[in-house]
Point group: C2
Chain length 175, copies 2
DNA sequence: CTAAGATTTCAGAATTTACTGAAAAAATGA
DNA sequence: TCATTTTTTCAGTAAATTCTGAAATCTTAG
């Protein structure tokens, strides 16, 4: 039977792999998992030791996690070192990740698609008709996603139902 | 004003960057975007030329896209070469991507969490209580996600409403 | 202010990931 | 069957990403 530490290690390593599949670097995800599973806040030294990584790497991972809003710095009275802790509620964690990924990935994509659409619309109707159609659909897809996200954030469950309607219609057509 | 080809290139390059943020390699995402914006199917040579990449790279990207179910091979009568085309409906495309990501990322994570949970439960109650709690929450989070996904696939909108309830409750607590 | 402790930065090293191109394999048609 | 065209594979190379560690900076206590 594995020890507690071995189980924690397995979870942390897996979380790290998941992170790298999601465009988050391995170490950052490992630090997050370590803090998530830790009852008390940890300092940089603790993290270095547990994950066997360099001081600089810990510093960079923490900076990134803080910029995501997933980790907070903690001054413990009488302590000289900084301590770090993470959001412990999984649903809140999920919301934070959704918010950040939207900001970093979806918003720039929507901007790019809007710009492309505007440019495509200045062209003669004979040219690029198919491209125009496809960019429009893509844009609509992302915009619908953002609408649902916003309503969820704002407690308005109306449009998630609209989405559901669309999803079911698509399902029906394609099955 | 940009030409049609310049606009297409911009969309394709951006889609490639997006892909690499999502654990899909840049080339694979670019090939997908190229096919998505193309009215007719393309052959390997077309893709090589448009994206300025090697034959081998095209072959690998197509294999991967086909294994995701996003691209299909097309035999055109009288043609010796294979042609390729992609799913053109954005909603269907979204569903395919969701299905594959679930299979490749979420399912293995759930397995790992279940295994860890089982191991944690064999330990004395005094040891690892916090870890047990957190792994349980994580597992529940992912399992809820899968439930919603399955109901959507199966036309049953019930549990998405349950999720919504939970999400709103969380929102309320944390705001 | 100074010294000790703690954190951050970043150039270079290490590692990982992606790509090329030529050889091998597969497919097609005569 | 064989010759030709197309696709696939994969070893080696290139590129991108991540990590280290020492110097610089910042913080705090005395």
């Amino acid at each position: 039977m594995p020890t507690l530490d071995q189980i924690k290690e397995k979870v942390i390593l897996h979380w790290g792999e998941m992170g790298s599949l999601w465009g988050i670097n391995r170490t950052m995800a490992q630090v997050h998992a370590l803090l998530f599973l830790s009852d008390e806040p940890l300092c940089a030294n603790d993290i270095m030791e547990e994950l066997q990584i360099s001081r600089g790497n810990v510093s960079m991972a923490l900076r990134e996690l803080i910029s995501w809003g997933l980790v907070t710095r903690l001054h413990i009275k009488g302590e000289r070192r900084e301590y770090y802790t993470t959001e412990k509620d999984v649903w809140t964690m999920g919301r934070i990740i959704a918010r950040e990924r939207k900001k970093r990935e979806v918003d720039p994509t929507i901007n790019m698609l809007r710009e492309s659409m505007a440019e495509l619309e200045t062209m003669p109707p004979s040219e690029g008709a198919y491209e125009r159609e496809q960019v429009k659909n893509l844009l609509n897809f992302f915009e619908t996603g953002v609408d649902v996200y916003k309503d969820l954030e704002a407690h308005k469950p109306n449009s998630i139902l609209k989405l559901l309607g669309t999803a079911l219609k698509v399902k029906k057509l394609s099955s």
